[in-house]
């Protein structure tokens, strides 16, 4: 028997089926958590915001357009929540050390990847919140300039300036000559 689609789960969840919504959350929780972690660079906050994202989504589920894909929508909800969180809170905990590990690599390679990932995450975390958000939407959620402008309700010129300045800062941090 085929696994139910996101649409099926949403329809069941709208009728009050908590198990269906649990399945939907299980399916998307890792990608939502990663959105939050890329923007916040703190695991505890990212977990809280990922959970908050699904609580908000449940409240708005009856207004969700079933013709759209659920995954991009929920990740954009997460990104916006993270931006609001950054704007309304000062960081409550120190930024995390990178803990990613790829078991297929040798220990030496793992250390190298871990260090590089940490550099990238630290560089992202050092950007102003709005810059972080446009980088997330462009690079990880693959939205066009127009879609980002529409999503964030800002002019197209602001999207471009935030994105290009963010990249310039990232290049300076990550590719600066030693």
């Amino acid at each position: 028997m085929n696994a139910p689609t996101d649409r099926d789960l949403i329809l069941r969840a709208r009728r009050g089926d908590a198990e269906a919504y649990g399945d939907l959350v299980a399916r998307h929780q890792t990608s939502v958590f990663n959105v939050c972690y890329r923007i916040l660079h703190n695991r505890a906050d990212a977990e809280d915001l990922a959970q908050e994202t699904f609580i908000r989504a449940l409240d708005r589920l009856h207004t969700f357009d079933l013709e759209r894909e659920f995954s991009p929508w929920i990740r954009r909800v997460a990104a916006n929540l993270c931006l609001n969180h950054i704007e309304s809170h000062k960081p409550s905990a120190p930024l995390d050390e990178e803990r990613d590990e790829d078991k297929t690599q040798s220990p030496g390679e793992q250390v190298e990847v871990k260090e590089r990932s940490e550099q990238i995450r630290s560089a992202l975390a050092s950007l102003p919140p709005h810059y972080r958000l446009v980088v997330e939407l462009r690079h990880y959620q693959e939205l066009s300039y127009d879609e980002i402008a529409n999503e964030l309700d800002i002019p197209l010129s602001d999207v471009k300036s935030h994105l290009f300045r963010a990249r310039k800062l990232l290049v300076e941090k990550l590719h600066a000559p030693d």
């Binding site: 990238i120 066009s144 471009k160």
Partner: protein, 183 residues
């Protein structure tokens, strides 16, 4: 004349209509080509960022929690429901028979009890006032008489109707409890 940062970014994002023009310039300008390479390296870095594993299962929070009360087997719930329904039907059917077959019981009404207590209270006050106000001439509390107070006949059928109403509430309440246990 070099390409602007905006042109390079838009080129890599596929958001420009002048791709051919930009590519022609890049072929002949090492400086712009180097700037483009630096940007491409950044894109590669960002793409290479691994997904991290979620430390805990968020989905568990949204799934229904198992009830703390022991779940009744389905057959037992069904039997209890059927028994309750049968008892209710039997009670409704029995009420007319009881009302015919059993004798009437005469009970004093609440009004009778109320007036008797009031009479007792008044006479007690009267005695008290006679003791306290005896020096005042001409003062006398009114003396009420409550003879032949009416009685209120309560038939057994009335009692059974009340019992039936209570039973309905009881069955409804238990039904709600069972339903909550199930969810």
């Amino acid at each position: 004349m070099h390409l602007t940062d905006e042109q390079l970014n838009e080129y890599l994002d596929n958001e420009t209509a002048n791709r051919a023009e930009i590519e022609t310039h890049l072929d002949s300008c090492d400086e712009c080509a180097a700037r483009l390479s630096a940007l491409q390296a950044l894109f590669t870095d960002l793409d290479s960022l691994p997904e991290v594993t979620l430390p805990r299962d968020i989905a568990a929070r949204f799934r229904p929690r198992p009830s703390l009360a022991p779940q009744l087997p389905h057959w037992l719930t069904l039997t209890a429901t059927l028994q309750a329904a049968a008892a209710l039907v039997a009670l409704i059917v029995a009420i007319p028979f009881f009302s015919i077959m059993l004798p009437k019981v005469e009970m004093p009404s609440f009004t009778t009890w109320f007036f008797e207590i009031q009479s007792l209270w008044t006479s007690w006050l009267d005695t008290l006032s006679n003791l306290a106000l005896s020096p005042i001439e001409g003062f006398q509390l009114p003396n009420y008489q409550f003879a032949n107070l009416p009685t209120y006949p309560v038939e057994l059928s009335t009692l059974f109707i009340a019992l039936a109403i209570v039973s309905i509430f009881w069955i409804f309440g238990n039904g709600m409890l069972l339903r909550n246990n199930r969810s």
